[in-house]
């Protein structure tokens, strides 16, 4: 068997994120034994596209027990487990922004034009979602469908009610603040956002299923005109992450972080768009969303060990093991 297959060359780094259950502090499991289609990842993984400047840094430290006058090492042990990741998202999107900003990420709802606010003013009243809706088809009163157009972004989630602690159906997009919140507070931070792909006689067909699943009882629809994040606040994004090195020469490598918390403020990486034919400037820049994360503890169900990340290598067929 040729050993050349063990020399690995890879293409781009692809990022996939999935919701983590913040209440139980468990992430979405990635099993390397199950094939993973990079073009069509299985739910609940969300394809966040290419990332650049991907860097893993392990800050775990070891301790040692030494004996004798010479201090000869007898036992080694881990005294600190710490893993971090930094990268630049090449694509802009709601989740990419949220992860890169680390703090609460907000949907700017279509407003009435009154009471201007930095994160979106008083919103137009949401339209009720009817029973029988799914994560992809939002059933509504036919009389209101003419208010919507294909291509518009909408958020689908419940009204805020006093006493709510976490905000967002299926995925926690934020936590209730100390001050009074209006009825749209959940929809301002919800990740149940999608684009209208078609308008049927009964409702809105979405371009992709809502990340949080089918709308909950009492959900409403509002238009989203922009996204905004803020420096500050008390909320940290926490998701499960999977990074894949596209195979080129043979095998594929995955880095799986069951629980990854954003750990850096909103920054961008700006790169000038090169002019291929001359050294003159194109006057254009590509701006990537810089993100940094810290890995949180997860328990491996196979042996109960507490770990923070996994590195998997899926060799190409015919590759020697050693």
């Amino acid at each position: 068997m040729e050993r050349t297959g063990m020399q690995e060359y890879f293409g781009e780094v692809r990022a996939f994120f999935a919701p983590a259950n913040r209440a139980t502090e468990t992430g979405t499991v990635f099993d390397p034994a199950v094939s993973f289609d990079l073009e069509n990842p299985p739910a609940p993984w969300v394809n966040l596209g290419l990332v650049r400047n991907f860097k893993r840094v392990a800050k775990s430290t070891m301790g040692a027990v030494r004996t004798g006058p010479a201090g000869v090492m007898q036992i080694q042990f881990r005294k600190l487990v710490d893993a971090r990741v930094s990268l630049d998202f090449c694509e802009w999107g709601k989740l990419q922004m949220a992860l890169a900003a680390s703090s609460q990420h907000m949907n700017v709802l279509e407003t009435t034009g009154t009471q201007l606010q930095a994160s979106g003013g008083e919103a137009k009243t949401g339209q009720a979602v009817l029973d029988g809706s799914t994560a992809s088809l939002i059933l509504m009163d036919p009389s209101v469908l003419s208010n919507y157009s294909v291509g518009e972004l909408v958020v689908v989630d419940v009204d805020y009610a006093a006493g709510m602690q976490t905000l967002g159906t299926g995925i926690t997009g934020g936590v209730a603040g100390a001050s009074a919140m209006d009825g749209d507070a959940v929809r301002r931070v919800s990740f149940n956002v999608a684009s209208v792909a078609a308008i049927t006689s009964t409702g809105l067909q979405l371009d992709a299923p809502l990340l949080g699943g089918a709308p909950a009882n009492g959900a409403r629809v509002q238009k989203v005109v922009a996204f905004v994040d803020r420096e500050g606040g008390s909320f940290f994004q926490e998701w499960s992450a999977l990074f894949a090195l596209e195979e080129a020469s043979g095998g594929r490598v995955y880095f799986h972080y069951p629980r990854l918390q954003a750990s850096a403020p909103a920054e961008e990486t700006v790169t000038q768009l090169a002019n291929a034919t001359s050294s003159s400037s194109t006057g254009l820049n590509t701006t990537a969303l810089h993100a940094e994360f810290v890995a949180m503890a997860s328990t491996d169900a196979n042996d109960g060990e507490s770990v923070v990340c996994y590195r998997s290598y899926v060799p190409a067929s015919g590759t020697p093991a050693y």
Binding site: E2, T4, G5, A248, S249, A316, G318
Partner: protein, 160 residues
């Protein structure tokens, strides 16, 4: 090295049959996807079939990183005279369509290397992979708009 060249040619031809099934070439009475390696043909096509991806192989060397990885540069030439119906004013559009097809053909940048000297082809256990195509400025020759694109093909030398 021959296996790498054959695999690349076969991969592009198979993909073209999916990307644009109508882009075919008829040689010696047989129709096939319009991707050929000039060195494999017994007659020079010249400019008689411009709307064909014509591969020619250029320099090859070992990658200087201490591994057994090698590379070989592939030049693809293609172009169009345009159609009579459009008084040949559509040659630029056809060339652009072929540019897009080439990008699609090369999008997935690896393929399992096989020895096509055997029937059926024998998988050799490694993959070939390649760079993004670099497209040169089109040139107009005798009413034909032609472009060349260069791709660097990487492979492990296995003596085949």
């Amino acid at each position: 090295m021959q296996a790498a060249k054959d695999t690349f040619l076969r991969t592009l031809a198979d993909r073209l049959a999916v990307v644009n099934p109508s882009r075919t070439l008829t040689l010696d009475g047989a129709s096939r996807p319009a991707v050929i390696a000039l060195e494999n043909e017994d007659t020079a096509l010249g400019n008689s079939e411009p709307e064909t991806f014509q591969l020619s192989w250029e320099g090859a060397s070992q990658v200087p990183d201490g591994s057994s990885l090698m590379y070989m540069d592939c030049k693809l030439s293609y172009g169009s005279r345009g159609t009579d119906d459009m008084l040949r004013t559509d040659r630029g559009r056809i060339l652009t369509a072929m540019d897009c097809e080439l990008l699609l053909l090369c999008r997935r940048r690896s393929a399992a290397k096989c020895d096509y000297a055997q029937t059926p082809p024998l998988p050799l256990g490694t993959k070939i992979f390649w760079s993004q195509p670099v497209m040169a400025t089109p040139s107009e020759v005798d009413g034909m708009l032609m472009r060349t694109a260069t791709i660097r093909l990487f492979f492990f030398s296995e003596g085949v």
